[in-house]
Symmetry: C2
Subunit: 223 residues, 2 copies
């Protein structure tokens, strides 16, 4: 399918490359056309890789990935243009990390709201699916990098949008269907974004960003 | 050893019972002496189980467990009496859940502060170790209820206090040493308390509180 990837950082790069390899046509969008990083990505990713403005990429894609920094996501979607977003699924990979007080970051929004909810409210024409924001970009597109079972949390208001994203996660990125945990509607973006403080600390402690969480389930309690 | 358990709910009950079974003498503390639930617990738990006021339990214990609701923890420690807390390890099992807007709860404090930090600041005479707050009480005292590896996050300012608590977790509750993840100082209570929103949602989704997270680690990134 045609996919628009908003953002030229490590996350956009990894996701765009994996999608091209899986046979999709991908346009990487950035603030201006012919962005240096986007042009370099097109050259590296090969046939099927395109680049353009946020608006170009949003118009091109049948499905969109938000791979921008959380603090920039709203303005990027404004730049993408509401007419180019209408009815489309947006996979929101961003986290509202606030580095203004240094490391470790806090969250710019949490607890009773989330970035995922903010974007869904501000752009009701989008079908926002929060996913992939709880793992590093290496793991996002190559879950077999880690041994055994580990889980990806997804949420969003529309079951059909979540199913479309789940299929892509399985077919393009290699996630096992049984490791996708649908938490419910977009309000659960609070729960997944609030994993970031412990994620950041584990990253520092483990010395690698290549890790993930597995939900280990036992028997139901005796009545 | 002599251990004071503050709180008469399911958590205090489970922890107190497991500690008695492991051979410790345990006093369950509540707002008033001869609290009905504490008296019932003493009868059920058998030799080694005692009950009294918060102050009695704090004075009795060489080590203390905070098993009260997060919103009550500060006033419980005031009632316990600073003179009874001085120099002692407090295992802070509580979470700052706020049910004032119904279910699911939000957190009364998070992001740039936490209940664990608030208690450590308010009671500098205590050596607060945040632990066990990310699992249900069944799992706290019986980790083998769940299959395979799953992890417990602990944090606190004092390595010796964390080591004392870790030994108790291993010897009295059966946690594997390799499944205890020391995240660092008490500021990491933010990270573990912020797991609660997703924990609560997983509980509803899985239909059982008997689950936990396992950190699955892959190779370090290629340079």
């Amino acid at each position: 399918m045609r996919i628009g990837v908003l953002g030229t950082g490590m996350v956009g790069n990894a996701i765009g490359t994996a999608l091209v390899r899986a046979g999709h046509r991908v346009m990487m969008g950035s603030r201006t056309r012919d962005n240096e990083k986007a042009v370099a990505w097109v050259a590296a990713a090969g046939a099927g890789a395109l680049q353009g403005s946020y608006s170009d990429a949003a118009a091109f894609g049948e499905l969109l990935f938000n791979c921008t920094a959380g603090g920039a996501s709203h303005s990027v979607l404004v730049a993408a243009g509401r007419e180019n977003l209408a009815g489309k699924v947006l996979v929101d990979v961003a986290n509202p990390l606030d580095f203004s007080q240094g490391f470790p970051p806090s969250l710019a929004v949490c607890n009773t709201d989330s970035l995922g909810e903010q974007l869904q409210r501000a752009f009701p024409e989008l079908r926002v699916v929060k996913a992939l924001n709880t793992v590093n970009c290496n793991v996002m597109v190559n879950p077999s990098l880690l041994p055994g079972d580990h889980d990806l949390f997804i949420c969003g208001n529309e079951p059909t949008a979540k199913e479309e994203v789940s299929r892509l996660l399985v077919e393009a990125f290699g996630w096992r269907r049984e490791n996708l945990i649908d938490l419910g509607d977009i309000t659960m973006a609070r729960g997944t974004e609030m994993l970031l403080p412990i994620w950041v600390r584990l990253w520092a402690k483990l010395g690698t960003p290549n890790f993930n969480l597995h939900v280990v389930v036992g028997p139901p309690p005796a009545v």
